[in-house]
Symmetry: C2
Subunit: 499 residues, 2 copies
Amino acid sequence: MAPMAKEDLAALDAHWRAANYLSVGQIYLMGNPLLTERLRPEHIKPRLLGHWGTSPGLNLVHTHLNRVIKERDLNALCVWGPGHGGPAVLANSWLEGSYTQTYPAVTRDAEGMERLFRQFSFPGGVPSHVAPETPGSIHEGGELGYSLAHAYGAAFDNPDLVVACVIGDGEAETGPLAGSWHSNKFLDPVHDGAVLPILHLNGYKIANPTLLARLPDAELDALLKGYGHDPLYVTGDDPLQVHQAMADTLDQALDRIAAIQRAARDGGAHQRARWPVVVLRTPKGWTGPRSVDGEPVENTWRSHQVPLSGVRENPDHLRQLEEWLRSYRPEELFDAEGAPTGDVLACVPEGERRLGATRHANGGLLSRALPLPPLEDFAVPVDEPGATLHEPTRVTGALLARVMADTARRRDFRVVGPDETESNRLGALFGATGKAWQERTLGTDEHLARDGRVMEVLSEHLCQGWLEGYTLTGRTASSPATKPSSTSSTRWSTSTSSG
Amino acid sequence: MAPMAKEDLAALDAHWRAANYLSVGQIYLMGNPLLTERLRPEHIKPRLLGHWGTSPGLNLVHTHLNRVIKERDLNALCVWGPGHGGPAVLANSWLEGSYTQTYPAVTRDAEGMERLFRQFSFPGGVPSHVAPETPGSIHEGGELGYSLAHAYGAAFDNPDLVVACVIGDGEAETGPLAGSWHSNKFLDPVHDGAVLPILHLNGYKIANPTLLARLPDAELDALLKGYGHDPLYVTGDDPLQVHQAMADTLDQALDRIAAIQRAARDGGAHQRARWPVVVLRTPKGWTGPRSVDGEPVENTWRSHQVPLSGVRENPDHLRQLEEWLRSYRPEELFDAEGAPTGDVLACVPEGERRLGATRHANGGLLSRALPLPPLEDFAVPVDEPGATLHEPTRVTGALLARVMADTARRRDFRVVGPDETESNRLGALFGATGKAWQERTLGTDEHLARDGRVMEVLSEHLCQGWLEGYTLTGRTASSPATKPSSTSSTRWSTSTSSG
């Protein structure tokens, strides 16, 4: 691939620096947002909260997703696994204008910037993690373990959607996330969209190194290939080199996704695809203070939350914070009114293509009432009390099968469960659809189908995550419960039996 | 490796057939245990319950563990992940005599065999899954997801113990299990014992194929190598061939374990070991009915529970059951009184070496009171109400550190948590021990140590599983909770914060 033009790289870097600046601003500042004067203690919030460590990585991913969305006119959604990096996602939403569109009081100028900063993790303000009110979000930050399952849930039956999913190396240690990698065995490249996992190895969790970041390279590569992925690596701590590598890699990944989809949709592919995964290895707290009070901070766990903690009281910390903020050269990034410059916004897509403005993150705008048949059609005649035996879930199964058949074209209804559809007597469903399955099949298998809309996997975490991702993007999913009385089309019920 | 002598293979096969016979007997029979007469409907239980599908695989593993335990005088424990295969574990306990030792009424003769059969999943009898009352068990069958974490918990600080762990391919789909593979990054070959995972791919769960069984071979191999293991494969459906392969493979695996331990304990090894994992691929419901009512059963999901379901009413099913039972040639396996023959018992170890009689599965026999310091040593002087500020968990940290120091030789105390020891102000612990860690370290790391007894991983499932395995084998573990009030040395408290 030809290297990018210098000015294009510089514009990406400007966007990234702006997002980093805004992230630091949210953690620390309640005044003087553009640093038009020297920083003084009264500009600093009285209580410092927030997670800086993951933010520069999230900002990098958002900047580069912007570029490919705009260049390719992609229909994209992003699930931010390290959603404790709320400052980053908020910063990007403000830069692209989706924040002001949602919250008009937070204008895209100096006054709005001050509001953006002050409200962050502040009484009466906004949460420090990605939250339901964050534009573009379907995934609660801090809900460690479910990002990838949510991403798959969003991609099912959304053939035109690309769902990027940033997975932190902390979250990657959790069981639910570790089990989610196998979701690719259930994704149909014809009727479903694509998931692009971006495993962000910044090396540290709260006070420890992370497991995946310390694996020998060959072991990590084997692991991701074992999960059925084709890994692409971006590694570095020099911004311009990383921008170039990240741009090349996202282009490669999206070209592969397009090729996989084309092959499958042309009817040519009969083997499960090896979808790409991006491994992004950048320093935790990148571009933040290298050391504080003599202790190394950048690229260590000490950058996890607030690297400079005594800013109001300690003049040295105050000076370091000002140097840090000025290192992004805000005067190049924002005009005199505080609006982002043209360079900063060069990569930002328009309208609903913006990650903070996609309808897919706001399922209520997309969902349609399910075509529910009259309940009378499924009435069970009882001539005499206590004289006949009936199995209620068999009746429910017939009803669900009707809904499944009536949504065959719309494809906005799924049944998800831990391999208990049949044992819970809902087997009538298999007259209307199959069980999603992309692996090889044997002659003795029954009901397995690439395009099936019943999903069975022996991980209730995965079931739960898929179901949430599917419904939060405006569709309906139901789960077979072990107890017939709790089967319902809108409520999830867990089941613990192994048979 | 030289092939085994024919008579040794035949003796292993006799033990396996006996265990299979006893497993089927438990599911079906309430009389005529030795088939001394033709099977009649009144010999059959009125309600048929139990899981046959996994049982022949568990019986194979138990038979072969017996052999290596006896030959090598191993101190071994086995965690039976597919513990819904209760009939298999009970059958083996009865064969080795640990069942009768624990429950004297269930004698090792025809009368006891009838009791063993009748009590299984019967009113007033015993559960159909491996349960606390099952000899040799620390892992509730059906608690899918925790087998491997329990096995590691048992192995920590038990340097002479080998913990085999059978993982079913259904359970392997769960998040907690998927995350547990990385436990090997926390196991110290000097002070801890060994865990030998045996991944049993019998291909099916309740009504579906399993994910791992249908992966392309190269992908499965990459996955296990990515988890840091060295995979060894045993595949087949011909019993004598599989006996030979399983014997060779267990010998290889145990030789490697011994070599790893020797190298580490001689002070020679500085890299994390690549421990073996055995992949056992045998048919689900192996040796059971090939087909029932025209449908294939053996090697399909239909063998998951009770392959012949209408035995009392359907003469054809009754005939098939009798053929099935007689296919094990019980007359060769049990003498006229119903006791197992010498051939059957040739592989069985003695005394506490028997898997159903090991003290490690009965932690109460091993646990010693912790050396708790006088609480007064940690009293916080409060001269005046409401006048001073104190952090209770810092005080707790000092107390835990004292206990940690006082158990430095005994090594029967650990603190386990999701990377919150420091943030919950229990950091005083690091004056007494380090954090368990076998990966490479960097100059900026703190407190990481191969032999550390604080364990931090960002998976609460793993924390919970390790802690259970450790305490159920007679030691004490504590967990730092997010809420200071719920920190205690005997209660586990979950924490959900990401920082």
